[in-house]
């Protein structure tokens, strides 16, 4: 057995089903060994998307997604995907081939110091120097990636190490890391303090972030919220912790969120932040969430607690365990007036849009789309105006909502949707992007055709980089600079070139019929929606 065989055995031991990647000489031993395995390989069309696809898969399976690319440019191309996963705490294992270990540091062909380059975007990285270490390193890497605050781990493996013989292969059953022991269980003293505050609170609220979904705590959160009638708002990454139409859910907070969600959070007297970083887009004025209220901050990463807002009660631990413990606590929490007040906000504070009837109204379209989607369908939103409309108007039932929240990486939706589809081929997966973000990942149409991964794609086309145009509209008084997307391909012809069925929606007149056709069969399809180029997220 050689090092490359050992890598494949490790992936099998971890239950990996799909590896996304792009070969090159430095990773060829691995891609040769994987032919002997049942692990499926997917040839992505650019390395960044290998990480995005692995991210989409990881978010659906709850296990690390895996990508494998070659040294040098292969490795540097994957960095944006790794950084995207890191910002949203998505577990990834990223395997990079490396030049011969004896040549390391001599600037040979396709050499890049990838462990150095990704240092600030990974939870941890390894440069494997001895093939005998492969089983231990993979065991550790999978454990580190998917425990505590999750995140990407990069394993850089020189070609000679992949080719070196491994005399004894055994995959460790236990991981023994002297220095890494994340706190999982919440401290009971802190939990009791929270309960005491909840008994006193007149206006309690929970603000749920992506960490709730990462710890699979949404059921516990929902049960807790329903038992004590505690209203819930979410950050962008937390969308989906409650069905959008749940009576206790009051929308997404933040500068692109619902005004009633922000008002609810700001007017509360007890705010439980859980699995959320108190990041600038969700909470632009951290003072507002600490003044005149008790702030409880629950996070598995102690460094997030107190980073942007000083909590009254810090509570370190995994959200699923903590909600389980909250549900064990007997107490009463009375605040009926507060709910009536919030219902009033929700009924009256929704901003009315003034859509142009000559075009598709993205808000109405997205709502109609989500109503017609399968209840457990997966909606993958890209980045730009389309993302804000998706967050604002997609109605989650029991499915998932995936997007690049922390890094805001354009082009995320299509590869991530492929990953999500491969996680469960029975689920309906829809990627919604703009014409800018679509062109950042349209090479993946080939991947979905080659590997038979049916993804529904919607391009909200306005011929602009709309989010930046909107910023230039308000900030630079319509002095548009480098946002005009003229020269974009004819998407009908492009779809035909890839042999993917195409639909176009010019305005809202045929929305029912077109959506029905779009969603009828589980096959890749591209739906182009023409959006008023002057449409704004914030009118």
């Amino acid at each position: 057995m050689i090092g490359a065989d050992a890598i494949v055995r490790c992936l099998e031991a971890e239950g990996v089903e799909v590896v996304f990647g792009y070969p090159g000489v430095a990773i060829c031993p691995f891609y040769n060994s994987i032919l002997q395995s049942d692990i499926r390989t997917v040839l992505i069309r650019t390395e960044q998307n290998a990480a995005h696809a692995a991210s989409g898969m990881a978010r659906m399976t709850g296990r690390p997604g895996v990508c494998a690319v070659t040294s040098g440019p292969g490795a540097t191309n994957v960095i944006t995907g790794i950084a995207t996963a890191f910002a949203d705490s998505i577990p990834l294992i990223c395997i990079t081939g490396q030049v011969n270990s004896e040549l390391l540091g001599s600037d040979v062909f396709q050499e890049a110091d990838i462990t150095g380059a990704v240092e600030s975007f990974v939870k941890y990285s390894y440069l494997v120097k001895n093939a005998q270490d492969i089983p231990r390193i993979f065991k550790e890497a999978f454990y580190i990636a998917n425990s505590g605050r999750k995140g990407p781990v990069l394993i850089d493996i020189p070609i000679d190490v992949q080719n070196a013989s491994v005399s004894r292969y055994s995959y460790p059953e236990e991981v023994s890391l002297r220095t890494y022991k994340p706190t999982v269980k919440g401290h009971i003293v802190q939990i009791k303090k929270v309960v005491k505050e909840l008994e006193k609170a007149k206006r309690p609220i929970i603000c749920a972030g992506g960490g709730v979904l990462l710890s699979e705590a949404e059921k516990g959160l929902r049960a807790f919220s329903e038992r004590h009638k505690i209203p819930v708002v979410s950050t962008m990454m937390g969308i989906g912790v409650m069905p959008t139409k749940h009576p206790l859910y009051y929308g997404m907070v933040g500068n692109n969120g619902k005004p009633y969600a922000n008002r609810a959070m700001n007017e509360s007297d007890l705010l439980i932040m859980v699995g959320a970083r108190v990041a600038d887009r969700a909470v632009s004025q951290p003072d507002l969430i600490t003044q005149n209220k008790v702030l409880v901050h629950i996070d598995v990463d102690p460094a997030e607690i107190g980073k942007n807002a000083g909590p009254t009660i810090p509570l370190v631990g995994d959200a699923a365990h903590i909600f389980e413990e909250f549900l064990n606590q007997e107490f009463t929490c009375e605040h009926e007036e507060w709910l009536t007040q919030l219902d009033g906000y929700r009924d009256t504070m929704e901003k009315k849009r003034t859509p142009n009837p000559a075009y598709v109204d993205p808000a109405a379209f997205i709502t109609r789309l989500s109503e017609k989607m399968q209840p457990d369908g997966v909606y993958v939103a890209d980045v730009g105006q389309n993302q804000i409309w998706s967050c604002g108007y997609h109605v989650v039932k029991e499915g998932r909502f995936l997007t690049s929240g922390g890094m805001g990486t354009m082009g995320y939706s299509i590869p991530a949707a492929m990953g999500a589809k491969l996680a469960d081929m029975t689920k309906q997966v829809i990627a919604v992007c703009g014409d800018g973000s679509f062109q950042m990942s349209m090479m993946e149409l080939a991947t979905m055709q080659q590997h038979h991964v049916p993804v529904k794609m919607i391009v909200l086309k306005n011929n602009y980089l709309g989010m930046v145009r909107e910023y230039q509209h308000y900030t630079y008084k319509d002095n548009y600079s480098v946002v005009d997307l003229s020269g974009s391909p004819d998407l009908e012809k492009l779809s035909a070139a890839y042999d993917i069925p195409f639909l176009r929606l010019e305005n809202m007149d045929r929305v029912e019929e077109v959506l029905d056709r779009f969603l009828a069969h589980d096959e890749s399809m591209l739906l182009e929606c023409l959006i008023d180029p002057m449409d704004l997220v914030k009118e």
Binding site: T115, E119, S120, L127, T179, P302, A303, K307
Partner: protein
């Protein structure tokens, strides 16, 4: 702004020092000095970092460093409960006529002369930072040709704060 001394016990992996210094630079934390050396157990390295910032930054430094996978332990070395030492090597220009003056200053500070050349001396001194700075200030009348300081290393007093490893 206040100064704090942190003591770290880290896994002796390749790149651990760059992971720590990289964390400081990318998050904009100050490092006034950093020293590292292997411990009695060769699997571990002890690092002493002197840093400064307001309370919130210092708290973040402690948490962010603790989060790094290779870090076994980080704790503050409080001045009242710890000893700090730094070593400085100071090369002073000293012709025969000036030599005796430097030597007597060094004597007062219990520093050693570790090299003598025809026109210079190297003084080795160990102490806390204020002692070293006081000595350097006293050399004002002489010409310091070269100065090398190690940055401080420190330990807690007594056995209460020792981190035991299985």
């Amino acid at each position: 702004m206040q100064k704090k001394v942190f003591q770290l016990l880290v896994d002796n992996t390749s790149g651990v020092l760059s992971r720590i210094s990289g964390l400081f630079s990318r998050r904009g934390y100050n490092i006034e000095s950093i020293t590292a050396g292997v411990t009695a157990d060769p699997r571990f390295t002890r690092i002493t970092i002197v840093t400064s910032g307001d309370d919130q930054i210092l708290e973040q430094i402690e948490k962010q460093v603790a989060k790094l996978i290779d870090i076994r332990d980080i704790k503050e070395l409080k001045p009242s409960e710890s000893v700090y030492r730094e070593l400085a090597l100071i090369k002073v220009r000293a012709q025969a006529a000036e030599r005796q003056g430097v030597i007597s200053l060094a004597d007062i500070f219990r520093a050693n002369i570790i090299d003598v050349a025809s026109d210079s001396l190297i003084v080795e001194m160990t102490g806390d930072q204020t002692k070293i700075e006081a000595f350097i200030n006293l050399l004002d009348g002489y010409e310091i040709l070269e100065l090398a300081r190690t940055g401080i290393a420190g330990l807690c007093r007594g056995t209460e704060n020792v981190t035991f490893i299985n």
